[in-house]
């Protein structure tokens, strides 16, 4: 709504004494409004949505829309397919079409293999309008349609995908020469990446990994070189074939030429592969990144080695310490065993002595009790029987019990008491099952 409606009724003249800053007096804001929903329909709503979503004002939107429109117009213009024509090129003979640069003829030399079909068509049309023989004739020139034929041939080649590929294969003007060592030292990544970008046009697999900058990772660089060392190129050299005679008369000659061409193609292809390989070698030789990665790898390897040695040394040390500790422990144990043995021996002897002494006490006790004879000296057989029973009891009890028994008997002089003790002992042993009921009758 930029068109203005016209109001025929005049506005009032300015009253006397009316004045305001900058000739404008704001008085009151809009008094009321309501929230409503606009129908999201129609071209004007699209404009509204565009403004609302991009937060543009009316004038901004007008400007941006105008710019976009202008851009579209520019694209319709053939600005991108025009370049000055080389006067030498205009003099070309149509029959030499094999050697002509088709892109240059159509004015597309800055696009070359990147030119789109649309660009080629437009360029062709433009050139035709300019160089059509009828136009030249109208200008009074001679009937020279050589360049027009060049244009037609160029278009024919470039609009045919097969022919265009053949021409692109040998279009050396699109190549970028590898940089010299001196240049590369300064601008290595930029210059080489240009070379590979141009070379990438021959790749059967797209996209081609990029050369990357100085800070590329090892994986990226590896991927790049792996790709290029295994480069799969569609480049072919049919375009440079010598003409095969088309007559049927000389078939041998024809076959000979065909063979020759095939061989030449193979040779050229091999040469091209060799060239690429050489270029890659040259590039990788100068690539600082590879050196850096190698160094890093070496450093990593050294580090590993060092770590390994360190680990070995430590293991050895640990083993030595362990051994020492073991030896020490063994020695200590031996010494302890020795002292233990000696102590045991002493204790045994003491125990033996104690047992002997106790036995003496036991025997003494029966002697004190006069071998339990009721009157006078005991008979020899009675003495033997009692002593035999004492022996039996002694044989049945261990040294501690003998000691306990001896303690009980010690100091007792009265025969009955002694007998009672012995009787108790025998009864105890019978109860424990060590003696049979009928044994040691002399004590009971």
């Amino acid at each position: 709504m930029t068109t203005a409606t016209v109001v025929s009724k005049p506005i009032p003249a300015l009253a006397e004494g009316w004045s305001a800053e900058k000739d404008f007096k704001p008085l009151s804001s809009i008094t009321s409004s309501s929230q409503r929903t606009i129908e999201p329909v129609g071209p004007h709503f699209l404009a509204h949505a565009r403004r609302a979503r991009h937060k543009r004002t009316f004038s901004e939107d007008d400007r941006i829309q105008a710019q976009e429109k202008a851009k579209n117009i520019e694209k319709d213009d053939d600005d991108d397919v025009s370049e000055p024509e080389d006067p030498m090129m205009l003099q070309r003979e149509a029959k030499d079409w094999k050697s002509q640069d088709h892109y240059q003829v159509l004015g597309l030399s800055k696009y070359r293999y990147k030119a789109t079909e649309d660009q080629i068509k437009r360029a062709h049309r433009k050139k035709v309008l300019k160089h059509h023989p009828d136009k030249k004739a109208a200008l009074g020139a001679t009937e020279d349609d050589n360049f027009f034929k060049c244009i037609q041939k160029a278009t024919e080649v470039l609009l045919d995908p097969v022919k265009r590929r053949q021409f692109d294969s040998v279009d050396e003007k699109a190549d970028v020469e590898p940089p010299s060592k001196k240049d590369a030292s300064k601008n290595f990544y930029k210059l080489w990446s240009r070379v590979f970008k141009a070379e990438a046009r021959f790749s059967k697999t797209q996209p081609v990994p990029s050369f990357g900058g100085e800070d590329a990772t090892k994986e990226e660089v590896d991927a790049f070189y792996n790709f290029w060392y295994n480069f799969d190129s569609w480049r072919s050299f049919e375009y440079l074939d010598e003409d095969v005679p088309d007559d049927n008369e000389n078939r041998d000659q024809k076959r000979h030429m065909e063979r020759k061409n095939t061989n030449a193609r193979k040779k050229k292809k091999a040469e091209d592969n060799a060239r690429l390989r050489k270029m890659l070698d040259e590039c990788s030789a100068g690539d600082e990144r590879i050196k850096r990665f190698r160094q890093q790898a070496n450093a990593a390897k050294n580090k590993k080695k060092f770590e390994k040695e360190e680990a070995e040394r430590k293991a050895k040390e640990d083993a030595r310490l362990k051994k020492e500790a073991e030896e020490k422990a063994a020695k200590e144990a031996e010494e302890k065993a020795k002292t233990d043995r000696e102590a045991n021996k002493k204790a045994k002897e003491a125990a033996k002595n104690a047992v002997k002494k106790n036995k003496r006490v036991l025997k003494g006790s029966v002697k004190d009790a006069n071998y339990f004879s009721s009157g006078g000296d005991a008979s020899a057989s009675q003495i033997d029987a009692v002593l035999g029973d004492v022996e039996t009891v002694q044989g049945k009890v261990d040294p501690d019990e003998i000691a306990a028994l001896a303690a009980k008997l010690n100091g007792l002089k009265v025969a009955d008491e002694i007998k009672a003790v012995w009787k108790g002992e025998v009864e105890r042993l019978v109860a424990a099952g060590k003696l049979k009921d009928g044994d040691c009758k002399s004590f009971i």
Binding site: K9, D23, F24, L27, S33, F45, L46
Partner: protein, 567 residues
């Protein structure tokens, strides 16, 4: 509003059409060189009855299916659009009376139909029925266009609930179609009119009366610089094409009964279907000619029936229905808080809108300045039956090149819901007698942000002038013939706001809309204006309701720029 279903299509491979999926009739339209064209189906119908019928496992739609209402009513589904996304308890099955009856299945709506050659009749949900029907529409469109249709814009009534919209999108997506957008029916009608090459973009208030077969919807739409805002809507399920059919059916049934004692064709389902079909045909004939013949073979009990009716008779017996339409329109204007004088245009849409009497009734309600867009009042009017489909097709062609995301974002409430100014904004100029006259520049109910420019005349002698930007609102001034007409309309009493049209006509009052000057927003001085030149005033209301006023002499440089702060 736009939502994508399972099918996602990129903008380049889209082939979008507009679909009006109506309760009684549906239409499909596409655009050819920016002109909307309604597509005819295989039978040559541009209005395709929304009917699906199964006979011996064969699926029929449109008029073929409609013919089966007589013989195969049980396997014929009609009027199912409104059931979409509804619960069984909330549907009105009146219009399915003479066809397959809706069934309650898990609260939803289903139909039991014999859609196979053999076996048990199957129960098909309304969503599935819609999908099947839409698939047929799409096939017709694809056949016509010669390429596969991928996307569509559909029209929906304004009172379609979110659930119904979702159900419709789901059913359409199931038919293999991406729903670009659902647009409101009144807006589609307005768009169809505004997209005509001769149309000029201007601020106007439009009443869209969409008179369909089973329902009538009216809406007041404010069109402001090509942006549409619905101010009020009203819906009516009583008055529609079906009620007109009913009137004719009753009429002819009585005629028949007069001739054949005690035989009521309305008591037999088959006779009723025949009666209904022929009545609809007669109604359509009466919209074109002044006479229509009615003839049915074997209407009831093997008796043939033949009769004629003229338009006058028809209009007399259908007067009740016509009055209903009038009340509906008057009601919606009142609901919007407007007066008939505020309405600049009435657009009639829908099949029933062909009826000449409805248009002439509206003609008498509205002032002479209001354009009535109906075939009988305006020979250049667009066919009312095609309006919605055309609008949908135009919208489809506008948005089909956008990404689905873009459409979704653009139709987001954050973009569509904006403040609308309640009062008009305009300049004060001098009348013939030197009094202040308000000239609207921005109409009321205009969405902001908005920018308008006017060229205002200056006093003859030129010199310094005052540009006074004010708010204004309207009121209706009623002048009785005997009273002396008041020239200065800055004051009025509210007594005449009650608009009883009948009494108005009888008393021959003249009613006119006058502007009242409200609050002054700002004043600017333009100095040294040349004789006879004009002053250009640009009023720009920002999204926050801040106003920027720029005034300068036409062709002059610089100018006075002033800002009135947002409230």
């Amino acid at each position: 509003m736009a939502e994508t279903g399972a099918t996602s299509v990129t903008p380049d491979e889209r082939c979008a059409i507009g679909i009006t999926f109506g309760n009684s009739y549906s239409s499909i339209a596409c655009t050819v060189d920016d002109n909307a064209v309604v597509i005819a189906n295989e039978d040559g119908d541009r209005q395709i009855p929304t009917i699906l019928s199964y006979v011996d496992g064969e699926e029929y739609t449109g008029n073929q299916a409609k013919a089966f209402l007589v013989r195969n009513a049980n396997n014929t589904v009609t009027s199912f659009r409104d059931f979409l996304g509804q619960e069984f308890k909330s549907i009105d099955p009146t219009h399915c009376h003479a066809a397959a009856h809706p069934k309650d299945v898990d609260g939803g709506v289903s139909f039991t139909i014999q859609d196979n050659v053999e076996g048990e009749p199957s129960t098909v949900s309304v969503s599935e029925i819609s999908t099947r029907y839409l698939r047929r529409l799409i096939t017709s469109a694809s056949d016509y266009l010669g390429k596969k249709v991928t996307s569509a814009v559909l029209t929906v009534p304004t009172n379609f609930s979110e659930k119904q919209r979702e159900a419709l999108i789901k059913a359409t997506t199931a038919a293999g179609i991406e729903v670009l957008q659902l647009i409101n029916e009144p807006t589609a009608a307005v768009l169809a009119y505004d997209a005509r090459p001769e149309a000029v973009v201007e601020d106007k208030t439009i009443v869209v009366a969409d008179l369909g077969g089973s329902r009538s919807d009216v809406a007041v739409v404010a069109s402001r610089g090509g942006l549409y805002t619905i101010l009020a809507t009203a819906h009516d399920y009583e008055f529609g094409g079906a009620s007109l059919d009913k009137v004719l059916m009753d009429h002819f049934a009585k005629e028949f009964m007069k001739k054949n004692k005690d035989v009521d064709p309305r008591e037999n389902a088959r006779s009723l279907a025949k009666l209904k079909a022929e009545s609809e045909a007669a109604k359509k004939a009466l919209s074109i000619g002044t006479n229509a013949s009615f003839s049915v073979e074997s209407l009831a009990e093997g008796i043939d029936f033949q009769s004629t009716i003229n338009r006058l008779r028809y209009e007399t017996i259908a007067r009740k229905v016509f009055d209903g339409f009038n009340r509906l329109v008057e009601g919606v204007i009142k609901k919007a808080g407007l007066d008939v004088l505020d309405i600049d245009e009435v657009i009639l849409s829908g099949g029933t809108a062909h009826t000449p009497r409805i248009a002439s009734n509206f003609r008498s309600i509205f002032p002479a300045t209001t354009a009535i867009q109906a075939p009988s009042t305006n020979p250049n009017a667009v066919n009312p039956s095609e309006l919605l489909a055309r609008g949908a097709a135009l919208q489809a062609s506008l948005i089909q090149e956008y990404e689905t995301n873009d459409i979704e974002q653009s139709t987001h409430p954050a973009v569509t819901t904006v403040p609308h100014i309640t009062n008009a904004i305009g300049v004060v100029s001098l009348g013939d007698d030197g009094e202040d006259i308000f000239t609207p520049v921005i109409a009321p109910e205009t969405a902001v942000p908005v920018r308008r420019t006017v060229h205002v005349a200056t006093p003859k002698e030129g010199g310094d002038v005052l540009v006074k930007i004010v708010e204004g609102n309207t009121h209706i001034k009623v002048t009785k013939p005997e009273a002396k007409p008041k020239e200065n309309g800055t004051k009025d009493d509210d007594e005449d706001d009650s608009d009883d049209d009948d009494s108005e006509e009888e008393e021959e009052e003249t009613r006119e809309k006058v502007w009242k000057i409200g609050a002054t927003l700002g004043e600017a001085a333009v100095r040294g204006v040349k004789k006879g030149s004009k002053v250009e005033v640009t009023i720009n209301v920002a999204g926050d309701l801040g106003v920027t006023i720029t005034s300068r002499e036409v062709g002059g440089k610089g100018g006075i720029r002033g800002v009135v702060k947002a409230p």
